[in-house]
């Protein structure tokens, strides 16, 4: 166990030593990976922010239930009781037609119009808020209410929420596709840089194998090299996204303010940032693994 730890410490030290000895080329490799990864990382950040935004916008999933003119009193009472006890309804409020008219009259510009009416054209209504903000749940609730004999019409505008959700899903798939493609590229880039690294150390590897080094011992420093390069690229990607947000957020805030909201794109939350570093590290490890294994197979005596 102690010698296992020592081997890993040695391998890590060797990898760090190599990175330090080739500062310029290591930095360029990490930069290439970082710039490439900044695209999906930035897309992910944007999507996460949009998702919290849509969460906030659908905060009032409001349904308006208009009653029939000739609804029977008893039926209305039964409906009111049903709405009150329905677990899907968070808050409900009965708006009698007189009150609706009064509210309408208080709206500026409509006072005269309302005054000119001979009779009240408005129906009684329930205004209620669903507990679940999901568009599908709201639609199901609306359909249930529509079946009640005393209900004329139920108004629940969920189309915009559906569209937004569809667009977000599309963008999410696009970001995943981009991430997958660039992840593949990352493995290829690491494969190649590790191969070059192996070639510069061919002699050391050959001699070590001849005098009793295991393949595992030879592989280990290259694993760390791939891992560190991937992680370095991931950190750079985070830095790029952070820098871009610092530049963009004041502009976004100004734009959002003109719409009367206070939207800003938030830096990836803790878990997301860890993924942006850990995933490239794992892919770098994979590229290194493939590269070293291939080389060791090549030099295996037949």
């Amino acid at each position: 166990m102690r010698s296992w730890l020592r081997h890993h410490r040695q391998a890590l030290a060797a990898a760090l030593g190599k990175l330090a000895a080739q500062r310029a080329s290591s930095a360029v490799s990490a930069l290439v990976i970082g710039v490439a990864l900044a695209l999906p990382a930035g897309g992910y950040t944007l999507l996460e922010s949009v998702r919290t935004l849509t969460g906030r916008m659908s905060l009032d999933p409001q349904l308006t239930v208009f009653l029939r003119d000739k609804a029977v009193r008893g039926d209305v009472d039964a409906l009111a009781a049903r709405i009150k006890t329905d677990p899907r309804v968070a808050v409900s409020r009965f708006v009698p037609r007189e009150q609706a008219l009064k509210e309408l009259a208080s709206v500026e510009g409509l006072t005269d119009v309302v005054g000119a009416l001979e009779s009240n054209p408005l129906p009684d209504a329930f205004v209620l808020r669903a507990r679940d903000r999901d568009a599908q749940a709201i639609d199901a609730l609306a359909a249930d209410l529509r079946r009640d004999p005393s209900v004329e019409r139920v108004q629940a505008d969920t189309a915009w929420a559906r569209r937004l959700a569809a667009v977000t899903r599309l963008a999410r798939v696009a970001v995943l596709l981009l991430a997958g493609l660039l992840g593949f590229g990352l493995v290829a880039v690491t494969f190649n840089t590790i191969r070059l690294q192996i070639l510069t150390q061919r002699e050391e590897i050959e001699v070590s194998k001849l005098i009793g080094a295991t393949d595992g011992y030879i592989r280990r420093p290259f694993f760390y090299l791939g891992l560190l390069q991937g992680a370095g690229g991931g950190l750079l990607a985070l830095a790029i996204v952070w820098g871009a947000l610092e530049l963009l957020n004041p502009q976004i805030a100004a734009l959002a303010a003109s719409y009367g909201t206070n939207f800003r794109v938030a830096f990836p939350p803790g878990g997301g940032a860890i993924v942006v570093v850990a995933l490239p590290a794992a892919l770098g490890w994979l590229g290194a693994y493939m590269s070293v294994s291939r080389y060791l197979r090549e030099i295996q005596p037949k």
Partner: protein, 222 residues
């Protein structure tokens, strides 16, 4: 300790390097393997640490059939052998100390113990003061001694050397062979290949003569 029975080695391309070679080296024995260049000496030595595999016959080292060893087991075989290569295979990007410590770094010897063993090995070959030097700064004979130090730092029971005296003047060559004799005297089994009959004859050890891939007379030198 080392035994060959009916060993043949044919390289891809049809060249036959060894034909039906059989011999045994007892534990603690010192044996010279002589023969002109191209006789198959290097091939024979390469079969012992499984650098090459025999086409026919069996090579047994310390009770293990080396030819049938799984690739994963080969490193552990090599750690128990001291091998001095024909071209030395030193690494010129690091010091003498770092060259000699290499086998210890992958067999998990703690650094302090490793440093002690490296100095002991360098002391035995007479290079104790040169551990910080780069091998390029050393003479041919000294480089050969670094290679020997690296081969013995793991304290192997068997020492195998391929042409350790090639390209050395008479005096340096004798010095090298004397080092091997010293290891033989403390019980190490030694097998040395050399094309130099005179060197082989001088130390009164058993000589195996290889010619055209076949083992000739096995005589005791005078």
């Amino acid at each position: 300790m080392i035994s060959f029975s009916g060993v043949s080695k044919r390289y891809p391309g049809g060249q036959e390097a060894l034909r039906g070679v059989s011999f045994a080296v007892q534990s603690g024995e010192m044996v010279f393997l002589t023969g002109p260049s191209g006789a198959g000496k290097s091939t024979l030595l390469k079969l012992i640490p499984a650098i090459e595999r025999p086409s026919a016959g069996s090579v047994v080292v310390n009770g293990q059939n080396v030819g049938a060893l799984k690739p994963a087991a080969i490193p552990y075989l090599r750690r128990h052998l001291g091998i001095v290569f024909q071209d030395q295979k030193l690494l010129y990007d690091r010091s003498v100390f770092d060259n000699v410590v290499l086998p210890l770094s992958f067999s998990g010897v703690p650094p302090r113990e490793a440093a002690r063993r490296v100095r002991a090995a360098l002391d035995k070959v007479g290079l104790l003061g040169r551990e910080k030097a780069n091998p390029v700064q050393l003479s041919g004979g000294e480089q050969q001694r670094v290679a020997i130090a690296r081969a013995v730092v793991n304290r192997p029971a068997v020492l195998v050397a391929d042409e350790p005296t090639a390209n050395l003047d008479q005096e340096s060559a004798l010095r090298i062979v004397e080092i091997f004799v010293a290891f033989h005297q403390v019980g190490v089994t030694v097998l040395i290949a050399t094309h130099d009959q005179a060197v082989a004859a001088r130390f009164g050890q058993r000589v195996l003569h290889l010619s055209d891939g076949r083992l000739g007379s096995t005589e005791k030198g005078t």
